[in-house]
Symmetry: C2
Subunit: 247 residues, 2 copies
């Protein structure tokens, strides 16, 4: 049985403001929580059904663990389909970005992506293709939003997501800056070299004007039909696949 | 001002049972509705704010149009962010599938995809890459679900979605049957010819056992990282891109 104050504490973490205040975010589901337990993240508290305890308590991290029923978990879940376990995990300290570290590799850069499902899916895809970091504009949806965490399917435990001013970063970029835009060169034909920032924009508005001015080369996924555009997570995935295929 | 009965009629269409009974589905947003008005679909009724009327009444289709306020539209919207216009559109008659028509091209086949956003995104992506049809197993989410319609961003007006028993279709397939599976040949290396069914499975369980028995060749998107799998809409997009790149 969860106390009233536990329920209201966890529910407050559904909101960005309280996540920031408490320095905690929510991950749901045994599989996802297990991946955080095996990572550098520090898992603070787990609420789970008794059956889940053996799976979640076998790791070396020191955790406050509370067993409870499914109906209680539903009260604190941020998802429409609640899971058997909910963890409160420490938001890592902000680390500085060292532009030189982006040499000899490709890095995904997101400018104003708003949909949590899109960001989560991009993180999961980046993990599949072995891109270790993602850089986001300040106005991109927060990576610790519960819907983002859910959509990453555990990959957030491995992919570092930085938030920074893109104009500054790209204005002094140590690698070529590629922009995914509708009027660029076909990615099937472009020689992209072996390093770069790959910028993708907002779902409706694309890359902002300020960031567009920092794009060195525009690249496009050729269209063979009539859709006006591709979903941003789809574009990111196709470009990641193209980059990996050639390396 | 909408009548009580109008509100309850439209809200009933949020549910599959009532869509089937009435033969109508909902599309929201001026852009999406405009694409249906320019297609073979028959738009029955439009509810919109007065500003939207000129944009939506310039087409030749005979439509019942009701002007109303944003607050009223919110009452009948199936979306969290309601749009300026909501249309009721006729669900087309079921057409028979002619297996021979799938020769000399690739067709996406979905086995048990459950998430409306995933199906909608796959329809949008298929439209981008010029795949005209999608075949779904009977237990795949319904294409006229409002969340699917929304995620297609108008592409549903151009892509025909068939529902059929996949065992029967694939058991007697006139083209090679490819399955997107984790243990297949790299799609980067595979020669896939110029025709085939490309089967993708359920979000959690993959391709069902029965359908797996009909797969002729397993293909895989190579992994370079640690994610266990890719989202099904992402996999579909990367495979579509690979097929188009080579044709």
């Amino acid at each position: 049985m969860l106390s009233k104050s536990q329920v209201s504490f966890v529910n407050a973490l559904h909101h960005k403001k309280h996540r920031k205040e408490q320095g905690l975010f929510i991950a749901e589901g045994i599989k996802s929580i297990t991946e955080f337990l095996q990572s550098d993240y520090s898992v603070d508290t787990i609420f789970c059904i008794p059956d889940a305890t053996p799976k979640l308590s076998k790791f070396s991290q020191k955790i406050k663990l509370f067993e409870t029923g499914s109906a209680e978990l539903k009260k604190i879940s941020a998802l429409t389909t609640p899971q058997d376990a909910i963890a409160l995990i420490r938001i890592p300290e902000k680390t500085n970005i060292h532009p030189e570290s982006f040499k000899n590799r490709f890095t995904i850069v997101l400018d104003g992506v708003q949909d949590p499902g899109n960001l989560g899916t991009i993180i999961r895809t980046a993990d599949w293709f072995g891109f270790g970091e993602i850089i986001c504009s300040i106005d991109t949806v927060e990576a610790y939003n519960p819907k983002v965490v859910q959509a990453t399917m555990g990959s957030l435990s491995r992919i570092r997501v930085h938030y920074t001013d893109l104009e500054t970063l790209l204005g002094d970029a140590p690698v070529p800056v590629f922009g995914a835009m509708l009027d660029g060169q076909s990615v099937y034909e472009a020689n992209l070299g072996n390093e770069g920032f790959l910028v993708l924009g907002n779902e409706g508005k694309g890359i902002s004007e300020k960031v567009t001015s920092k794009i060195g080369r525009r690249i496009t996924i050729p269209s063979f039909g009539k859709a006006e555009s591709l979903n941003v997570a789809i574009s990111a995935a196709i470009l990641c696949s193209e980059l990996r295929r050639r390396l």
